[in-house]
């Protein structure tokens, strides 16, 4: 066996990320298809229990760097350790999740190894033993199939949720290989002064991945509680249409539209919004639009990917419960 397929097993606070499971499960398939071993690379500090968990996913090896300097993610620290490991063990492919850390770390490692990297991939094919990655370009308005012909390792960051669920694929009693961590005194050049968890306060509209928005159909400012409940479950921001703002139900800073904020979240849930052009101008670039409106003729359904024609006061509580159940 040559090289090996490596999965960067991203963890946060001693917990593996969901995408890591997805990568491990898919990684097993890739390794088998290309006739290689599968290894997980685990960087962090105090991760005692994690190797056992990773072992459930059919890995042949776990490369592990457990060191206090790696307790908090740093570009420099992680890049150095990972690049040295690659240098030493020469894997043929390395996959990371397209997460905040993956996005930051992968290009740096790739450049240090002078190799190719495909980011934000939504599909991975294997053609004649070579990896071919599909990645959306132009905000999903087109796709490119990209390969990394000669440079090794082939690197890619994979978007979460695209590889299918991360089911355990059997324990192969992997060998745990410790990685040397030789970080000099000033080798980590960034200092994380503080971490502000996004628990309490709501995400800012323009930065939110998910927005739940209400319009004239909300009928009363008190009803926005229904949207907030849903937003809490989804970690979403709450927006409003101009009609709702004009009615005085929400402040102008929450207005989505031509004369308010322009947003492009992954998911936009429009509740009781008719879909005037002034509103569409502010949100139509959202990746996925859901409309809930009792008027089947409402314009918003023309741009919506999914619609429910029903009374939003009945739909919202049920929907909130459904999301809660799914995310639990």
């Amino acid at each position: 066996m040559t090289g090996g397929v490596w999965i960067f097993a991203e963890q946060r606070d001693g917990q593996l990320r969901k995408v890591t499971y997805e990568l491990l499960a898919a990684g097993r398939r890739f390794a088998d298809a290309t006739g290689q071993e599968l290894a997980a690379v685990l960087l962090g500090s105090g991760m005692a229990g994690l190797t056992g968990e990773i072992a459930q996913y059919g890995v042949d090896k776990v490369y592990m760097a457990d060191h206090q300097d790696l307790g908090t993610y740093s570009t420099d620290g992680y890049t150095t350790v990972l690049a040295e490991a690659i240098q030493r063990y020469q894997p043929s492919a390395l996959f990371l999740g397209h997460t905040a850390i993956g996005k930051d770390l992968a290009p740096r490692v790739a450049e240090r190894m002078k190799t190719g990297l495909c980011t934000d991939c939504t599909a991975v094919d294997i053609q004649e033993g070579r990896f071919v990655f599909t990645r959306p370009i132009y905000a999903g308005k087109a796709f490119a199939k990209v390969e990394c012909p000669t440079a090794r390792p082939v690197m890619a960051t994979i978007r979460p949720n695209v590889l299918g669920a991360g089911q355990p694929t059997g324990n192969r009693n992997p060998q745990v290989i410790p990685l040397a961590v030789n970080l000099g005194p000033n080798s980590i050049r960034t200092l994380v002064r503080e971490m502000v968890k996004k628990a309490g306060g709501r995400v800012e509209l323009t930065e939110a991945d998910i927005i739940v928005s209400g319009g004239r159909g909300m009928k009363d400012p008190a009803n926005f509680k229904l949207l907030e409940d849903l937003a809490d479950v989804l970690g979403a921001a709450v927006g409003a249409s101009r009609a709702a703002v004009d009615a005085g139900w929400r402040e102008h800073q929450y207005q989505v539209g031509q004369t308010g904020k322009t947003v492009s979240p992954t998911l936009y849930i429009a509740c009781g919004i008719s879909g005037a052009i002034q509103h569409l101008a502010g949100m139509s670039s959202s990746k996925c639009i859901v409309a809930i409106n009792k008027d089947p003729e409402a314009n918003i359904f023309k741009v919506a990917d999914y619609g429910i024609v029903d009374d939003l006061f009945r739909v919202l509580p049920v929907l909130t419960e459904e999301f809660k159940r799914m995310l639990a």
Partner: protein
């Protein structure tokens, strides 16, 4: 005996009158000269072509009072006062002819009739002054702000009139005037003094005569230093009015490499005509009474703005003149005045119109609806000042509400303010069988749906209705399709002259390329821009509004609104169709052309129509504050009890649709006239 009276009866030494008159004229001229000199700080304005037409306008406005009479109550009172004064001045001139030139005019029937006229005129003037007093100090309408000068001026005129009548009464009693019946007011008044001896009467008469003379001469001298200055400023301002099509804005020449500053931030960057405007404003407040921004409690009053510019200008102009031409007395005086208000001359010189004199909120609050200009008796032009200030904010400072940047960017990148991909511009016409110019090369008529007709779902229906009408009338027409770009109206009215010109030039080039001569559009903003702005850049097209064309088709019998629509319709005048282009009739005729429809007019209509709030680029700006113009206008429409609010402008339609939703009036519909007609011919 020939009816007459002795001029200067009982007034020895009346020759002194000439000296006093000379002094008064001197003061008057000095005052007028100051106006003239101040104006020198302004930039050139032209406004000298077609003097005959200018003069005719002045005469008709001055003697006919057309604008002033638009507001009946104060208008009629002013008309009476004005004509009273004209007649009295004529009488005085007759006296002068007799006394100074020896012409025997003040005798016979002419004398008697003139006396009667003068008496009636004087009485009418007294009544008018009394009513003015009552209005200003008892009724106190919101639009009037009162300063001491207002009171002085009224008192002074009243005093002159009363002393005049007293004088007459004393003379009637003292001389037992046999023709007293021809001066009825004097006669009635004379009964009060019937018991007095002739000598006493003569003393009273003499004293009153001098008092009357001094007050009249004082009045004359006081004119330039008071609100009475409107007596000469208004005609002058009307003389120099714009003779260009309504709403014409002066283009900026971007080719001129010398030019380093654009728009206006300092008062001296206005033209002398713009400065004269501020002097001519007499604070009547008609503009404010009709300003949708003011009425919806925005921080803008056209009157307030004009007055604020004037106050600043009056302090700064002498300082500027002093700075330009060395020391002068007014400069010193102004400096003292400035110092007295706690500001140094230097501080005044530093003041910008933007922020220091007029707030930015006020500058952006204007919808350029032209209601102020339409009402102003002095023909003050407010909007070009607002746009000059906006030009400075946009082109020099890049400081404006953030929503505007989005609209500008969208116009730049996709040729429409919403920013919908430009390639989708012709999607609305798919499956309608509408050819594009690119496909057929030429057509009799170009249909211009504008950004709203092309992109906004509600207004697409209007564009479709127009297509249906044109097709059923067998008109040979085409659209530009994806080659059409935003006309640039919003960019221009928001002060982005640079963006406007680039959009205009592209459109003109495209249309010229197809040899377009005639355009029909559903959007009054496009209409106004293409008809009036484009010729400034070599684009001469005949542009008509769809309501005009449809009416013509109805009249020619090419389409027949036959289907009965049992409905009460109210029509909302679009500012850019009505006030800007005087198209008031065609839309109303169209409403009436539909069988079964009754037209229910709103109180504010035609010249006094109330803006929906979307003009002047405000379509793309958030309207802040409790009161929204679109809601106010919707309420006005609803109060007619109509079931349909008919519009003829895409922005108005958007606003009315929103307004009706806001008012939760599901039974009332907002529709474009083309849709009503299309329904009726279907």
């Amino acid at each position: 005996m020939v009816p007459q009276r002795e001029i200067y009866w009982n007034i020895p030494g009346h020759v002194l009158l000439y000296l006093i008159f000379a002094v008064s004229v001197l003061f008057f001229c000095r005052g007028v000269y100051q106006y003239y000199k101040r104006l020198q700080v302004g930039r050139p304005a032209g406004r000298k072509e077609r003097p005959g037409e200018r003069m005719r306008g002045v005469l008709s406005q001055v003697f006919g009072h057309g604008r002033i009479l638009r507001d009946y109550y104060p208008g009629i009172m002013h008309f009476i006062l004005f004509w009273g004064f004209v007649i009295m001045t004529f009488g005085t001139a007759m006296v002068a002819l007799e006394a100074d030139l020896g012409l025997p005019v003040m005798r016979g029937a002419f004398y008697l009739w003139l006396s009667l006229f003068l008496d009636v005129a004087g009485l009418a003037a007294i009544i008018a002054i009394a009513v003015f007093w009552f209005r200003r100090y008892v009724q106190r309408p919101d639009r009037l702000d009162t300063v001491a000068d207002d009171g002085y001026s009224l008192l002074l005129i009243m005093f002159i009139l009363v002393t005049g009548f007293l004088l007459e009464a004393f003379r009637i009693v003292a001389t037992a005037d046999p023709w007293a019946a021809w001066t009825p007011v004097g006669l009635v008044l004379s009964y009060l003094f019937a018991g007095l001896g002739v000598e006493d009467l003569k003393i009273f008469h003499r004293i009153t005569w001098w008092v009357h003379l001094f007050s009249a001469m004082g009045f004359f001298a006081y004119i330039p230093y008071s609100k009475l200055s409107h007596i000469f400023l208004m005609p002058i301002n009307i003389y120099f009015r714009s003779l260009e099509p309504k709403g014409t804005l002066q283009p900026i020449n971007f080719e001129d490499e010398e030019q380093e500053s654009f728009g206006v931030a300092n008062v001296e960057e206005f033209t002398w005509k713009q400065l004269l405007d501020t002097e001519a404003c007499t604070r009547c407040g008609r503009c404010q009474d009709n300003c949708p921004a003011y009425l919806s409690k925005k921080p803008l009053s056209p009157k307030g703005m004009t007055q604020d510019i004037k106050s600043h200008y009056r302090v700064k102009a002498p300082l500027l003149l002093a700075a330009r031409g060395g020391a002068n007395a007014e400069g010193d005086k102004s400096r003292q005045e400035a110092a007295a208000t706690g500001e140094t001359a230097a501080a005044v010189m530093e003041q910008s119109l933007i922020g220091d004199v007029i707030s930015e909120e006020a500058i952006w609050a204007c919808t350029t609806c032209r209601s102020c200009q339409e009402q102003c008796p002095a023909m003050v032009e407010h909007i070009d000042k607002i746009i000059d200030l906006r030009r400075n904010l946009v082109l020099m400072e890049s400081r404006f509400p953030s929503e505007m940047q989005l609209a500008f960017r969208n116009m730049e990148n996709n040729g429409n303010p919403w920013g919908v991909g430009w390639a989708k511009r012709a999607d609305w016409a798919q499956d309608l069988g509408v050819p594009t110019m690119a496909e057929i090369g030429q057509a009799d008529l170009l249909f211009w749906p504008g950004c709203a007709g092309a992109f906004d779902d509600r207004n697409k229906k209007v564009a479709v209705a127009v297509v249906k009408i044109l097709q059923s009338a067998g008109i040979n027409f085409a659209i530009l399709g994806t080659e059409e770009k935003c006309c640039g109206d919003s960019a221009r009215r928001l002060g982005n002259e640079y963006l406007f010109q680039s959009l205009a030039q592209e459109n003109i080039e495209t249309m010229k390329g197809y040899g377009v001569t005639k355009i029909v559009t559903t959007c009054p903003h496009c209409l106004n821009t293409m008809a009036k702005d484009y010729p400034q850049f070599g684009g001469h097209f005949e542009v008509i509004h769809h309501t005009q064309l449809i009416l013509e088709l109805v009249r020619q019998g090419k389409i027949k609104p036959a289907r009965f629509l049992d409905s009460a319709v109210t029509y909302h005048d679009s500012c850019y169709l009505g006030r800007y282009n005087d198209i008031y009739l065609a839309p109303r005729e169209l409403v009436k052309a539909i069988p079964g429809v009754t037209l229910k007019e709103m109180e504010r209509r035609e010249e006094r129509s109330f803006c929906c709030g979307a003009g002047g680029g405000r379509m793309w700006l958030e309207e802040h504050g409790e009161e929204k113009m679109y809601v106010m206008r919707t309420e006005q429409a609803l109060s007619t009890g109509a079931a349909v609010v008919a519009t003829a402008c895409p922005f108005c339609l958007t606003m009315m649709v929103d307004g009706l939703k806001f008012k939760e009036q599901e039974g009332v519909q907002a529709m474009d006239l083309a849709e009503l007609i299309a329904q009726s011919i279907a």
